[in-house]
Symmetry: D2
Subunit: 292 residues, 4 copies
């Protein structure tokens, strides 16, 4: 049997990812603030730890999939942390979408305990996580990445290596999300223009879907004005856009389209759309044109 | 042998399109202001007309692929025009990317002569035209579209029908170009952010290319800062963006991303980049960040 | 008694301007499409002409204050026009806010008749026109401007000379309107931020009014959400913003703030606010934030 | 003789403000990290404190003019702080431009020591500070503001009261700076349009200066392309714009013009203009148009 891993954070992404690690033959010690979420995994053989520190075995590997930068830092830096328990030779594989600066700060922190940090944010919605079809950005020390690779292969369809800077994987992941958010804005404006000109929106969606499958799902949601259930909640999308603009500001990179997207998402929040799918930001373009 | 068609406008799109019609067995009477461009087609059996009007046979079909709205209107509305020569039962298939308003105006004009107008703008670069792989937006009267269909099939891989409004196909084509221009801007900003953060740009391009093949070519050009030879000249791209904003203004549709893209392209023009590929507009994002 | 002038266009700006010319002792031959608007001026001694051409005396001066570029061109270029009637030595003083290109085109046209064109657009609302407090931008041939000067002094408080290019006065006037529109957008966003933070909007208006009197009136309208009666109708403001962006495009000048203002005004139009004061464009900022 | 006050922060704003308090007859205990900056004040009768805590007298008043939120929080919350020394009945008058949230947080902190906090940011450059011509935004508890009033009168020409919320004065001050930054952007674009159209920039500046004296100085700097010496350094302007967008995000207020201004200033920073006057951000508009 393969190595036993620690896993912290069993939300709607973490839970299916952990499940795929079990399926691939890894042992698993899991922790989640709300323990009920661990039940299915435990039924399949995972061990439930009583604290986040307890998931770690000396010199082992811990994966985290937490909500945001603050939650991750809190878990890493508390008095007795899983990082300390891992100790020399340990590896922390961080799956969350967070700021590159946070990764760099944590890597430094981990070094004090002899632990290596691998930035490993993932692309994909819960369905893709369940199907082990995630795309994974990966960066950090070569040795640690080598240990991470079999795990990443067990949960994703492709791993992209971005070198030794632990923040690089985060930058790339944020860039990817930015490109998708920009596509949503573009589709929102295009579909509004089509509608205002009496063009059949469904035909337009079919055509745009041929241009790029990435566009199809979003274009369909926007054209049908149907944003529930949310694949990715708008308020979480705004969190990522904020991380993008933060990374942009820190690296002195003006991103006017980033700003436009930010203001559009913020407006959607102001209008109470935080729990809709993030493509609901496109409603704003229709409203600006006097529709809806 | 199939019907003999008229074809006006043998530029780098029109010439390969006309070639595919020949290959499909249609007869062809062609006209181009610069007659030398017709040589290859004539060698393959096309007949060279001495005026644009002369390409038309009574009740027949004429295709046009001209540079812009003005050139098209000029050819359609001159004293003795191909439209008059077509006369009752004739069909004009208009392949250029033009304003929906121009199509609507011409359709009305053509009606006086008993000629039907089919809006039929195409997606694709010269290579796609040569390979008969264009995507074709099509709108107009059902009967005329029916006659256009075999021709459209001979030059494209897919035809999308947008109903009876002759302007609808133009709106859709413009929307498509707008979405692509927006993707270029997004990629420009994302690649700049990656570069300012020390991320390997080539790895980023590989990843983004997996997200959508549409992105790959543009991302590669931007990352390598290589915009020649131009697949689609920047100044022509700006012409299309202007058509988009014109259609937006006429239909009271605010398009902030359209405006952003417009200003970016206009700046590229001000910097003398009119003859580079239109993805060269992305240089602006790098310059804003103090790069290049 | 001073010279007798021709005056075409007695709208809510033209009528009080013409009145001030009468008051200054000039004779006046007036024309307006709706003749009833001339009644008050006729009662004060003006002569009513039956056609726009009839206002002109050979070698004399004609002032025009028409709605837009098209109306002006139509009046100047009709079969028998006031320009032809003016003939050699005549001067046309054009008060409307129009495109610089239109002025340049008309100046060329007028030259064929020996008539000089003076670009002379004005700043100020109807009250300022009535009080002869307009600011006047002026450009054209030195000799013609010299003849225009006493008239400009009779209707305004200050004349700014922008040299010989007849379009320069128009560019400057458009720049001025652009700066004011930008101030409205800035005030709209600032007042929304204040309101969302619970700040007393009236106190804010008092403070901002101290920073610049130009801001006071607009800030007050926005803070009180009161946009009627319209000092300057929103739809006319949008017309001017369109002229700005047209001049910007023709001179390859990206104006991102110009674009932002354009989209904001266009959205106001889409929401049916065309007849409110143009500061009503600021409602958009409040709506974006979930207010109103 | 009037009360003896504490004063922390003797930069290019703090030093002349403190001087005016001396002139008005107040006693002064001053502190600055770099003690040499206190020399002139000490020569005029101020007492130099060896720590920031030492400026405070029990139940007295302390004014602070520090560089940013962090510097202020550091001074307020260190182990032995001036706040603790002030104790019950004390008043802290905070002159810096900071986030409203920082003021609110500090007011809560101060309450533990019985100290009242007055938000009191000021408008004006060093010359205005020296001439006691500042405009002062003021908010906080009525009693504390009453004690602050004679001091505010000694250093400014007008005090604007924004009620009891200590953050309200900060919001207002940020709104004011935002409006000025927006005016700089507008002027930059307008002057570029004028230049690209061959309009005499100096005449334009004269005209715009008549529209609003606020515009004159900035328009002149931009037209003459002369940004040194800096009245207000660009990097500090960007700091304030960041505070504006932070307040906007926290209150769910989309500010597209705020974003545009942010990106313009960030670009100026990327190009090494941090030490020029903040109106140097306008160079960006000229560069976009291919000038400079």
């Amino acid at each position: 049997m393969a190595e036993t891993l620690g896993f912290i954070g069993l939300g709607n992404m973490g839970e299916p990812i952990a499940g795929n690690l079990l399926r691939a033959g890894f042992g698993l010690r899991v922790y989640n603030r709300t323990t009920s979420k661990a039940a299915a995994l435990v039924a399949r053989g995972a061990e439930l730890a009583s604290t986040s520190a307890d998931v770690a075995l000396p010199g082992g590997i811990v994966l985290t999939m937490l909500a945001d930068d603050r939650a991750l830092e809190e878990v890493c830096c508390r008095e007795v942390s899983f990082v300390e328990r891992l100790g020399p030779g340990g590896v922390h594989i961080s799956l969350s979408t967070i700021a590159p600066g946070t990764s760099r700060r944590l890597a430094k922190h981990h070094k004090n305990f002899g632990v290596a940090y691998v930035g490993s944010p993932v692309f994909g919605r819960p369905e893709a996580a369940a199907a082990a079809k995630l795309w994974i950005c990966s960066s950090g020390e070569a040795e640690a990445k080598k240990r991470a690779r079999p795990l990443q292969r067990a949960i994703g369809q492709e791993v992209f290596d971005f070198g030794e800077d632990v923040g690089a994987a985060n930058v790339t992941k944020l860039c990817g999300n930015f490109v998708v958010a920009s596509a949503i804005e573009a589709l929102g404006e295009a579909i509004t223009l089509a509608e205002k000109n009496g063009v059949n929106k469904n035909s337009f969606v079919e055509m745009i879907g041929k241009m790029s499958p990435l566009y199809y799902g979003y274009a369909k949601q926007i054209a049908e004005n149907k944003f529930e259930p949310a694949g990715f909640r708008l308020v979480l999308g705004l969190k990522d856009i904020n991380l993008i603009l933060q990374a942009a500001a820190e690296s002195t990179t003006p991103m006017p389209l980033g700003s436009l997207v930010h203001d559009r998402w913020l407006s959607a929040l102001a209008k109470g759309r935080q729990d809709l799918d993030w493509s609901a930001a496109a409603i704003g373009a229709a409203e600006d044109a006097g529709l809806r």
